[in-house]
Structures are given as C-alpha cells and as structure tokens.
Symmetry: C2
Subunit: 193 residues, 2 copies
DNA sequence: CCCAAATCAGAACGATCGTTACAGTCAAAC
DNA sequence: GTTTGACTGTAACGATCGTTCTGATTTGGG
C-alpha cells in the first residue's frame, strides 16, 4: 500500500494528502479516493481536520516546515555569500529527492486550483512567499547592499521559473537552468564590476 | 452584460470561456455558470464544441493564436538582436493589456488544473511551449551562436518566472523583473566578453 | 478486566457536476 | 408562405462531490 499501516490515522491522512493532492491535484482527487489511499474512514478525516480544506491547509503547513528545514541545511553548508544566495536551488534538488510526489510547486499549484481558498489556506501560501523573500533579501545583502531587495526579486523570479519549468516540461533541467540564471543576475550586482 | 448580445452563440461562448475559465478557473466554473455568463443555452455549447473540454481546447487555441500575433508585432518592432530576444516580455505586457482576464498563464494554469487532460487540450499546451522554444532559439542564435539553445533555456525560464510571479504576487513588477533577469543572462553569452 | 478514546465500515444526505432530451421561438432563404 | 437551421428555456439524467450519521470494532492505560 501507499502508506505504512501502523501509523495513526492522522499521519496516514497527511501522508496520503501529500501524495495524492500534490501529485494528481486537489480538485481532481475526491475525498473517497483520498480515504482509500490513506486506508482511513471518513469520520477520522472530519474529526481530525474538520473538512477537506482543513486537511489541505495542514498538509501545506507540514510541507512548508519541511521545505524550510531542508533549505536551512543547504544554506548552512554554503561556503560563500553567493553560495548562500543560491542555496535555494540546492534545497529544491534536495527537497524533490525526498518528495517526488508533487508535479511542481504545491503552493503555487494550490493557488491555481483554489483561487477562492479560505484564509487558512491563503495564510500558508503567503507564508511561503514571505519565507522566500525575507530570507533571500537577507542573503542578498552582502552581495548587493542597497540593491538587495532587487536582487532578491531576481532570484525569486528565477526560482518561480524553475518551479514552472517542472510544470511546462521545459527547460529540461530546471534547477540547473535556474541556478545559472540566478547566478548571472547576481553577477550584475557585484560592487565594482 | 459581459458580452455583446449580437454576436453568434459560438463567439459569445468563446468570449465568456476566456473571461471565466482563465480568471476564476476551469474546474471552479460550472457549465451553468458559463452559460449564464455567455447568455447561451446548454444545447448551443454542446452542438458547437461537443463538451466542456472541447470548449476549453478551442478557447486555448484562440488564445495561443492571439498571443502569437501579439508577439509577432513586438518582435517586428525590435531594433536589435537583443531587443528581439527580449520582445517576449514586451508581448507579455501588450497581451495582458488587452486580456486582463487571466490570473496568470492560461496554458500553465490549465496544465495544473487538468493534469489528465485529453490529447486535444494537451496538444495546445505543447504547441505553446514549442512556439516559445523554437522562436527563442532562433532569436538567440545571433547572440549566442552555438549556445543559442542554452540561452533560449534561460529566457524561457525567466519567462516562466514572470508568469508565476503574477500567481504568487511577487515580484510585484513581473515583466520588469523578468526582462532584467533575461537581459543579465543574455549578457553572459555575448562573444568576446 | 474495563473503560474510554480512537477508528472502523457503510449508508445516506443534499448539492453540484457535465451532459442530454424536448419542445418552442425567431430570422433569413427559397 | 413555408421551410430550414440556429438558438432558446427548462427539465431531467446519472454520477460524483463534500459531509454527516449510525453503530460496531479495535486499542491502550488504569
């Protein structure tokens, strides 16, 4: 089966939600299909999460926390200011290695699938963008000084483009291309060059 | 009303589909809601397009043709090889001026919303990517020579990132940032520098 | 052992989905 | 003036949606 049998129902639900919602799509996956994948009864879902949207929100929160911790590790390994700025691409590689389920970015996909999402879901999507921008602005500061915010914009854009490349199927090596583009952008901000 | 009353039903359907499918979402919009927006009866929809998916596919084909023609105009105005390569961003500005309906990219949004889309829809999405890559590789040739394909990859990635920026709400000026990123990438390929 | 919490299977709810059928209306073409 | 074709409004189809309910079964701690 897709999920270990001995975990409590709550964990099985989150695990199945990650697999099926972010791979086949949230709206494309009925609750019954999810329950079958998680090997869980309907009552368990609604007692734990209140609604399908509640489960989606919690799955997104879990995913955001894991993404942040993976990025933490990659950023800590960076040997230079530039490496630290580009560590978001290392994190993308590492994250996708252990989460091969999602077709592209779970947060952007959710924003597309649920344009009228409740505030609980919207808050997680906003937190993802906030994590990205805050951290990249901090990492860009030693490289670009006063222009750190603009360089961060460039890296976010390259990051967006890398994620969308998984969806489009082009370019074929998204992280490689994204890192190259981000590095070229960063080079333009080096003082004295 | 949203649509002129004197156009034939087929045109009203396509116009409403563009507005409502690509703004509120395809799955989020029921057929009944679309029929009300188009001021058309259900029988007209199914006699003209066969199914909801058929209408989606035709709306995407129309949109792709318009996008291509807008890009044609912008590319023709380019004053240099670099301008021609970056004209895809001018086209994005021009296209979104007259099509303020879509939340971000109709093709990538459809790929997200309908991961199991039929081949009719999938063909239009593939055609969009093919248009993008073929043209950008041609435009990149005078700038990057043998590395034209790689430069085209970079520009596609910056273009992807620009589109996704509309969805994420960041960076706040997507086209401006996308153009800047693409230009920085292109500069790295100039021969003799 | 016993109690209480967790979880189960399964039926059923009303709502909405995409689609089809039916009969009536209108305008132009012959 | 009649015929034809496009289009209309409305009702209904079966399927699926998210959710709730009932009642039995399992499970772990005192």
């Amino acid at each position: 089966m897709t999920t270990g049998q001995k975990l409590p129902a709550r964990e099985r639900l989150l695990s199945a939600a990650e697999e099926v919602f972010f791979h086949r799509g949230i709206r494309a996956t009925g609750v019954d299909e999810l329950l079958r994948a998680a090997n869980v009864s309907a009552a368990s879902l609604y007692s734990h999460f209140g609604s399908k949207d509640g489960l989606v929100a919690e799955a997104l929160r879990v995913r955001l926390a894991e993404w942040q911790s993976v990025w933490d590790e990659c950023a800590a390994k960076a040997g230079s200011d530039l490496d630290r700025l580009l560590s978001v691409f290392d994190a993308l590689d590492a994250f996708r290695d252990r989460q091969p389920a999602a077709r592209w970015c779970a947060f952007l996909a959710t924003a597309t699938e649920l344009p009228d999402a409740g505030e609980e879901i919207a808050a997680v999507l906003a937190a993802d963008t906030a994590l990205l921008t805050d951290r990249l602005r901090r990492f860009a500061q030693p490289l670009a000084g006063e222009q750190a915010a603009t360089l961060a914009d460039d890296v976010v854009l390259a990051y967006n483009g890398t994620l969308a490349a998984y969806l489009r199927g082009y370019p074929q090596s998204p992280v490689e291309a994204g890192r190259r583009v981000a590095a070229a952008s960063a080079a333009a901000y080096y003082p004295g060059r």
